[in-house]
Each structure stands twice: as structure tokens, then as C-alpha cells.
């Protein structure tokens, strides 16, 4: 039976809503009607609430904890402290970075907001009352809040629990507050290049501590079913399978008896990759009480205790010829990891992929070194909407290039064009050991410069500067150029793992008899629209319309194992697994079609949604027909059914890139920076859903605006966190946020099955240097070389004042 519907090939393609279609999102129906299911929406019979007593000190010894008054509050059932966890060996938990972190403070606290006791009560109000009444007696200790002082001879010892352990997870520790040293590249060669250079520029560039601050905070519900011995954990987990494995390792509950479910997640941006004390305490409380226990942090707790990002003090040096050709790059980083090393980097990369710091440039020799230190700050160090430490690296190189351009009196765009890796050099081996898969930087940059009419902008800036000097305006115009190369899609199992788990990802596809399908993945969406886009990949591969494909992820009982969603890895890794699973299905479908059409397999060709006999397209079987046949016919030599699973171990990372140009107007008397226009050209290889890509770019650029113009998690000398509420922590509103202009070029990844590279994090990686460069550019002619972010009104005004521009 041939499907006789007389529709054209174009219509068949259209109907699939496959790759390249701006398909509307299937998630939106529930979200727009308030029917999402986020963790705090979960309500189970008899559910209890847990809440933390947290340290008001940055560094202090705990002398005593008195719980009687709290336990007397009606509704309070238990107060758990480190002493209760010790017999279970649960007072510390392993971090993703090979360190341990206190679940509840063990004899001393190391940062303000640290978890000290967990109060369990019948409702959240009673729990909060209990928290108020737990009496903790502290003795303050000297605080280290400056990473540069962490390794002083007389610096106080922070981590007493590991004071004798001088062999860290990444090699020897050289001081009691030192975590690791990591280096890459040719140190001697780089020193020589610097010594021999016509010009050298050097700068200390700090990327301040910030926080991903998704609109939904972290939380979980733990439910121990004592009869079946099964623990179920619902939570804001960006990596549900990894959470299950970690939970199993620390609780000794067998992995098959733990079910981890990530429901809808209200944004992650890296904040929800880690494993937090709240998860462990909720699980313990549920095991102890036999009731489900919910823990959801509030915003202050979120900003002060779960997963900060950045806090990198980077010293860059560039060697160059006098006509602007870069001959060498050196970078050293002092990395402030806070009180516990809880970074979420692949094991062998304690500084993530920071060695992408040579950026988009053909730099013959380079060296980078990173030292991680402990301070009295919250742990974390996650990739806030970027791949592991890539945004730090991009910020350093893109600022340094501008500084070099300024020194040589060259145009920032010109110096970039001069040093770009050329199209014919790909695949390109960087001086720090990466193999860039594909790129065409000159084309992208030329398109960007033409689109914004760069020369006209520079001419306008000349006029603006002259007018400013004549006293006709108090605004200075700045043009920021950035060109970034990202490295995403971690990653090849041979060198990427987290806690020993290879960073592959997976997809399982089942075709139902009537020709619809379900696909399950090891990833989890936090707004990226996986249910929409992964169905598009499947649609293009197997010829079933996307709307007939259900996509499921986030439940460890049903989804195949995968390492989750962060570091822009879903499309490069799970997207590839999806395509490969689809291809397995197609291979079997081809055999079935051959049988049905009574031809040799080799005589068939795939066309959109069917196999047809070569040279005779009238003789064909659609995937729908094949699916039905696979369930109702005995086909010699083939098992019934049509399903496949693929575990994809990527052969390489992918390297998205982009050219961003922002224009700002700065009022020197108020320090207000107005982003007049911003153009973002992204090349993320094959584009799966342009609408979603654009949305991701808008969101990422807005986050970059937030970082550049105001976000700052800082601490005072006594260890108090400044700005841990939305009163102080800058999240731009619709008023501060400009309209973003997006554009693209398409350079597919040669090793990815569909050529896609991943995009969610590019705008943050490129947006930060572009906006910061724009601010610097406004003042460059007045002698500004570099000033640290955030470029908030007060700091900008101070800068203008220092340059003698204010009245």
C-alpha cells in the first residue's frame, strides 16, 4: 500500500518541521497557562519542609549548637547538624572537582551563608520559626576575602579538614590555601617571544565574581519509600544521571533504587549543575522521617550559597611585531574558588577549557597557567552560560587585543583581521593544544563590519570626540568589537569525564506502529526548548513530522544515561546521539522497505520521509508504512519493531564563533552607559531552529549586559557578602535592555553528524568583551587602558573623573 497523498516534495519537507524550521515550541502551551511543573509545585501527601540555619560569619569556629528552643516550636520535627551526619559519614560530600564540601558545617564555618543546621518541620513557616531559634555560638576567625593574600606565609588556615593532605585532586598543593596549579603550552618559547618582541602589552584583567541567578532558585523534594527501599529525588538538576550516581556513592543506596527526576526547570545557566547540601539534607531527612521532604532555597540563599561563577584574576601578556602581528601570548590566572572546590569542570581540566585563550588568532606560541586558591567565599565556579571557563578566556584575549591595538594605534577591527586563523588553516591546531574543527572568521568579520557600517561609525565617533572637546556634548561614544571562538560540546570520553563518568550523551528512539515516535535523552532542558528542537533532528533523520514525536528527558528511570545540559553540550553531544539513533532506525527501515518493495537494499534511496527505488520514485515506502510493517509482518532475518539507542562519544569538541559589535553612549557626568545598538553575528554551524537560536542569543546578550554593567558578588573585609539580594544584584529589566540585532553565517562542524555546534552560550562569551570594549573605547582617546568590571554608573563616573573629564 503506497501512501497516495499527492503532495509535492517541498510540502513533504515543510510538513516534517525538521532542521532549519522555526517551529513553534511545544513547551509553551503549558507554560503560558501556568501549567508548568517546577520543583516547588510538587506537593506530596505528608510532605515536610526543610530550611537551613546559615552562618552569619565568613570564618568562625562553632563552639556550640543548641536546638532545644527550635525543637519546641509546634511543627518542628527535627534539627539536623553535622554531629548527626557524622555517624552516617555524610557530613562531607564529594564535589565535582575532586574536593569535598561540608554538607553541614563541621566545627567551623568558612563562608557567610554556609549551611550549619537543617530544620525539618510540617510547613515552611514552622521551619523558618525553627531556624530563628537554633542558637549557635561562634568564635570569629580572621577572614581571607582577597585571593592575592590567600597564599601569604601568615595567611590563616581555612581548610582544617585537609590540612595534611598536600596532594590535591590535580597534583601537589603548595600552600595550605592552595588548591591546584595547572598549566599548558610552551613556557620557555613564550618567554622568548615576549623578550624578542617589538612590543609587549601586559595587563591584570579581573573577571569579577558573579552569579547565574536563574529566576527559579535551586530546590528538591526527596521521598524515601521505606517499604520498597526506593529513594526518589525531584530537583533542579541540570545533570540528573550524575546526581543519581553521586547520590548512590554517598548514601550507599544502590543506583537502581534511586530515581532522579528533573521536572521543568526555571533556568539554570550553570547554577543547577552542582550537588548542594540541601539535596543531601532533604534526602537524609526523608530517610529518617519516612516522609517526603522539600527544600527550596530563597533568593538570598541562592545568591550567597549555591554556585557562583568567574572570580578570575588574569594577567595577560601579548608579544607582537610593530605592525600588529601577534607573536606570542602568556596568561596567568589566580582563580578564587571560595571555601570548597566545587567547580563543575571535567576532571582533567581544573581550569576548564581556559586554554582556548588564544581565541580566534593564529598565535605561534603560548603559555597559560592557573592557580586555584581557597578563600572565605561561597563555593562554586560554574560555567554561567558558557562552556567551562571559556568566557573568562575570551574576555582576556579580546580585551588584550584591544589594548594592543591601542598601543600600536591600530583599529581594533583591523588588528583582528590581521591575526585571524585563515579559512584554509582549518582544522587548526592551536598553540595550546586544541584542534579547531572549522571556521571562516574573515567572512564573518567582514559581514559584521559591513552590516553595522563600521567606517561610518568610526567617522561619527571622530565627530563626537571633537564635539566633546569643544564642550558641545557631555556624551562620549564607544564602539566595542569582539570576535570570539568558543569550545563546547564536552566531550570526547578519552579526555573528558566528571567524577570518572565519560562525557558522552545518549538518545533512544522508539517508533510506534502507527508511525509516531518517542525519543528519550540524557539531557534536560532549562528553557532551551529541547522538546521542540530534538524532535526536529529526529524528524529530519527519520521522516516523521516533529509534531508526531514526543520527547522525554530528565527521568533516570526511563532516559538513557547522559551527562546533562550545560556547557552548550546538548546539541553537540546529545543532538549527535539523536541523529545517530535516527540513522540506526533508518538503516533498519531500509531493510524493511527492500523486503516490502522486493528490491535489493542498494537499489533504494532515502527521500525526505521515504525510501524509493532509484530511478522509479513511484515505487516507495514511507516511514509510516515501514513502521507499521515492522510491527505486523514477519520479515525474514529481522527482529520485529523499530527502535534504536545511540550513545555518542564525540570525536572532538565543536568551535562556534561570532563577531559582535556594540555601540554605547556614555554620559560622563552620571556614568550612565546607554547601549545604542548591538549587532551579533553567530556561526553555530547548522541551525536547527532559527527562532530558538535568536531567542538564545537575545537572552545570552542580556546576561552579558548584566555582567558588564553591574553584576558583582563581592565581600567586605569581615567576610560579609555584599549584594546577595535583588536589591543589589543587578538583573536588567526591560527598560535597561536594548534591542539586539542578530545575524549569522553557517560553517558546519565537519565531525558532527548534522554539522551543528551549539549556541546557547556564545552570546555571553562574545557579549561581555564586546560591551566592555565599547566602554573602554569611549575613553580610549583620553588615555584609558583598562578598568575592571562591572562598569556600573558609579565606577564609570569615577573613571571619567580620574581622566579629568568631569566638572
Amino acid at each position: 500500500m503506497n501512501d497516495q497523498t499527492p503532495i509535492s516534495r517541498e510540502e513533504r519537507i515543510e510538513k516534517l518541521q525538521g532542521l532549519g524550521s522555526s517551529r513553534k515550541r511545544v513547551e509553551d502551551a503549558r507554560f503560558t497557562q501556568g501549567a508548568g511543573n517546577y520543583v516547588d509545585d510538587i506537593k506530596l501527601p505528608g510532605m515536610l519542609f526543610g530550611d537551613f540555619v546559615r552562618s552569619p560569619y565568613g570564618h568562625a569556629r562553632i563552639k556550640s549548637i543548641k536546638t532545644e528552643a527550635a525543637l519546641a516550636v509546634p511543627g518542628v520535627l527535627a534539627v539536623i547538624t553535622a554531629e548527626d551526619l557524622k555517624p552516617l559519614n555524610l557530613h562531607y560530600m564529594p564535589t565535582l572537582a575532586g574536593d569535598v564540601q561540608a554538607v553541614l558545617a563541621d566545627e567551623k564555618v568558612l563562608f557567610q551563608g554556609q549551611e550549619v543546621a537543617f530544620v525539618v518541620a510540617t510547613d515552611r513557616y514552622a521551619a523558618a520559626d525553627g531556624v530563628e531559634l537554633v542558637e549557635v555560638d561562634y568564635e570569629g576567625l580572621p577572614v581571607i576575602n582577597d585571593a592575592f593574600k590567600a597564599m601569604d606565609d601568615n595567611a590563616p588556615l581555612l581548610r582544617e579538614d585537609i590540612k595534611d593532605k598536600m596532594e590535591g585532586a590535580h597534583g601537589p598543593r603548595k600552600h595550605h590555601n592552595h588548591i591546584f596549579s595547572w598549566e599548558e603550552g610552551d613556557k620557555k618559547g613564550t618567554e622568548k617571544a615576549l623578550a624578542d618582541a617589538d612590543v609587549v602589552v601586559e595587563e591584570l584583567i579581573t573577571y569579577q565574581r558573579v552569579h547565574p541567578c536563574p529566576l527559579e532558585t535551586c530546590g528538591c523534594v526527596a521521598s524515601m519509600d521505606k517499604i520498597n527501599g526506593k529513594l526518589t529525588l525531584w530537583g533542579t538538576f541540570q545533570a540528573p544521571h550524575a546526581v543519581r550516581t553521586v547520590a548512590s556513592l554517598i548514601t550507599n543506596i544502590a543506583e537502581h533504587n534511586i530515581r532522579v527526576i528533573s521536572p521543568d526547570i526555571g533556568g539554570g545557566f550553570g547554577n543547577k549543575v552542582g550537588v548542594y547540601p540541601g539535596y543531601i539534607c532533604a534526602a537524609v531527612a526523608s530517610i529518617v522521617t519516612g516522609k517526603p521532604v522539600k527544600w527550596v532555597e530563597d533568593r538570598i540563599e541562592n545568591l550567597s550559597a549555591t554556585a557562583f561563577a568567574r572570580d578570575y584574576h588574569m594577567t595577560g601578556k601579548i608579544a607582537a611585531t610593530k605592525d600588529g602581528k601577534i607573536t606570542g601570548l602568556s596568561a596567568h590566572v589566580l582563580a578564587d574558588h571560595g571555601a570548597f572546590d566545587a567547580c563543575a569542570d571535567p576532571t582533567k581540566f581544573p581550569a576548564g577549557f581556559f586554554s582556548i585563550v588564544t581565541g580566534s588568532y593564529d598565535i605561534p606560541v603560548a603559555y597559560c597557567g592557573v592557580d586555584g586558591v581557597y578563600t572565605n567565599k561561597a563555593p562554586g565556579g560554574v560555567a554561567y552560560r558558557c562552556s567551562f571557563r571559556v568566557t573568562e578566556a575570551a574576555y582576556l584575549i579580546e580585551r588584550m587585543i584591544d589594548i594592543l591595538a591601542r598601543k600600536l594605534d591600530m583599529d581594533p577591527a583591523e588588528i583582528r583581521l590581521k591575526n585571524f586563523i585563515k579559512k584554509e588553516q582549518f582544522p587548526y591546531n592551536s598553540a595550546l593544544g586544541w584542534e579547531y574543527d572549522s571556521g571562516d572568521y574573515h567572512t564573518a568579520m567582514d559581514k559584521a563590519l559591513a552590516s553595522v557600517d563600521y567606517n561610518a561609525l568610526r567617522a561619527e565617533q571622530e565627530e563626537n570626540r571633537a564635539a566633546f572637546d569643544r564642550g558641545e556634548t557631555r556624551n562620549l561614544m564607544g564602539i566595542g568589537v569582539a570576535f570570539f571562538t568558543e569550545i563546547v560540546g564536552a566531550g570526547p570520553v578519552k579526555n573528558c569525564d566528571i567524577l570518572g563518568l565519560g562525557m558522552f550523551d545518549s538518545c533512544e528512539i522508539r517508533i510506534h506502529p502507527t508511525g509516531s515516535a518517542i525519543a528519550r535523552l540524557g539531557t534536560i532542558s532549562q528553557g532551551q526548548g529541547h522538546a521542540t528542537t530534538f524532535a526536529q533532528i529526529v524528524a529530519s533523520e527519520i521522516g516523521i513530522p516533529a509534531e508526531d514525536i514526543t520527547l522525554e528527558e530528565g527521568d533516570t528511570d526511563t532516559a538513557p544515561y547522559g551527562l546533562g545540559t550545560y556547557g552548550s553540550r546538548s546539541t553537540p553531544v546529545a543532538g549527535a546521539a539523536t541523529a545517530m539513533a535516527g540513522r540506526k532506525i533508518r538503516a533498519k527501515a531500509q531493510m524493511i522497505a527492500a523486503y516490502l518493495l522486493e528490491v535489493h537494499e542498494g537499489d533504494l534511496e532515502w527521500d525526505v520521509d521515504r525510501f524509493q527505488v532509484k530511478g522509479n520514485p513511484e515505487a516507495h515506502k514511507t516511514m509510516k508504512e515501514i513502521a507499521f510493517a515492522s510491527y505486523n509482518q514477519a520479515i525474514p532475518g529481522l527482529e520485529p519493531g523499530l527502535e534504536a539507542v545511540s550513545y555518542y562519544d564525540p570525536p572532538n569538541m565543536t568551535y562556534p564563533f561570532g563577531a559582535y559589535i556594540g555601540v554605547v553612549d556614555i554620559d560622563v557626568d552620571t556614568g550612565v552607559v546607554d547601549v545604542r545598538s548591538f549587532y551579533a553575528l553567530d556561526d553555530c554551524g547548522t541551525r536547527i531552529n532559527p527562532m530558538i537560536i535568536e531567542g538564545q542569543v537575545h537572552g545570552g546578550l542580556t546576561e552579558s549586559l548584566a555582567i558588564v554593567m553591574g553584576q558583582d558578588i563581592s565581600y567586605d573585609e569581615t567576610g560579609n557578602i555584599k549584594g546577595a539580594t535583588l536589591m543589589d544584584y543587578f538583573l536588567p529589566t526591560a527598560v535597561e535592555t536594548p534591542n539586539w540585532e542578530t545575524d549569522f553565517t553557517t560553517t558546519p562542524s565537519p565531525h558532527h553528524p548534522i554539522g551543528a555546534k551549539g549556541v546557547g552560550e556564545s552570546p555571553n562569551v562574545g557579549g561581555v568583551p564586546a560591551l566592555s570594549n565599547a566602554v573602554h573605547d569611549a575613553f580610549a582617546h583620553k588615555g584609558l587602558t583598562h578598568t575592571q568590571m562591572p562598569h556600573d554608573h558609579w565606577r564609570i563616573w569615577k573613571t571619567a573623573q580620574k581622566l579629568g573629564l568631569t566638572d
Binding site: R25, D28, T32, Q33, E216, G266, R299, T733
Partner: protein, 163 residues
């Protein structure tokens, strides 16, 4: 603590309940009434995720005690579509124009826009941006939200003219 009696109209339905007087309206709606559309995103009245419509005004339900809402007429995101399930123009426009990603801000955002368009049926882009500045979104950069509200405003005014 002794409980107080609460009477209010929520999404057109009269409800009677009792609650601890310190209960916040957002917890009352989410936990007692199972209306989990409005969310909680902060503790300082900044994010707007908890926005509901109370007596014809947008309020942040995390900053209202349930007793203050006694006798009030409340509309939450769950009550914005028509009774027959037809989506409100805003709900449709948010989907058409990709005005949401993770969806966490969306109920508050749409509920705010629902009131904004009654206060000002044909707002300029700038008026929309100011009008929703009490609602934070971390995912979208607002551009498509603003577009969705503009489109919904046009559709509603066309509909109005037709009626």
C-alpha cells in the same frame, strides 16, 4: 496562632478558607488553592514572578498577606484563558513570538501584561518596557516579550473594534 477566615474570588470562583494570618498570598494561592501558576523568584518584591491581578491591579503576591486580600477579586494566570479553553491573545502571542524560554517568569509576565493592556490598550514600545519593568526575565532578553505584547495589543484592539 489562631486562624482567620478568608473569603475571596479567585478566577471567578468564590472561595472560603481559613489561614494563619501571616500567610502570604502567594503561599495561600500556591499551597492551599493549588494554583501553582504564579511563582516565587525572590524575597524582595523585585522579580514579579508572583504577579497576580487583585481588584484590577497588578500585585506581587509575595508581598501581600492573605488577610489583606480578604474580599478581593483575584485573577491568576490560570484564569486568563476563556472558560471554554480559548487562549487569551497574550498567551497566543507569547507562543507565536517566542516570548518565553524556561517559562518561570511567564505567568507573572502575562498576568502583568494582561493588566497593562487594560490600563493602556495601545502602548508604545517604551510604555510596554516601563509597564513590565517590575517583572524580571532571565532567559529572553525581553525583546520577544515586548513584541508579543505589541502583537496582542493589536489583536485585542481589532477584536474590540469588531465587537
Amino acid at each position: 496562632m489562631s486562624e482567620i477566615n478568608i473569603n475571596m474570588t479567585v478566577n471567578g470562583q468564590k472561595i472560603e478558607a481559613s489561614a494563619d494570618p501571616r500567610t502570604l498570598l502567594i503561599h495561600f494561592l500556591r499551597e492551599d488553592q493549588n494554583l501553582t501558576g504564579p511563582h516565587i523568584g525572590c524575597d524582595t518584591s523585585h522579580c514579579g514572578a508572583c504577579t497576580v491581578d487583585m481588584n484590577g491591579m497588578s500585585v506581587k503576591a509575595c508581598t501581600v498577606f492573605v488577610g489583606q486580600a480578604n474580599g478581593a477579586d483575584i485573577v491568576t494566570i490560570e484564569g486568563i484563558a476563556q472558560a471554554d479553553g480559548t487562549l487569551h491573545a497574550l498567551q497566543e502571542a507569547f507562543r507565536q513570538h517566542h516570548g518565553l524560554q524556561c517559562g518561570f517568569c511567564t505567568p507573572g509576565m502575562i498576568t502583568r501584561a494582561y493588566r497593562l493592556l487594560q490600563e493602556n490598550p495601545s502602548p508604545t514600545e517604551e510604555e510596554i518596557r516601563y509597564g513590565i519593568s517590575g517583572n524580571l526575565c532571565r532567559c529572553t532578553g525581553y525583546q520577544n516579550i515586548v513584541k508579543a505584547i505589541q502583537v496582542a495589543a493589536e489583536e485585542l484592539s481589532v477584536k474590540e473594534a469588531a465587537e
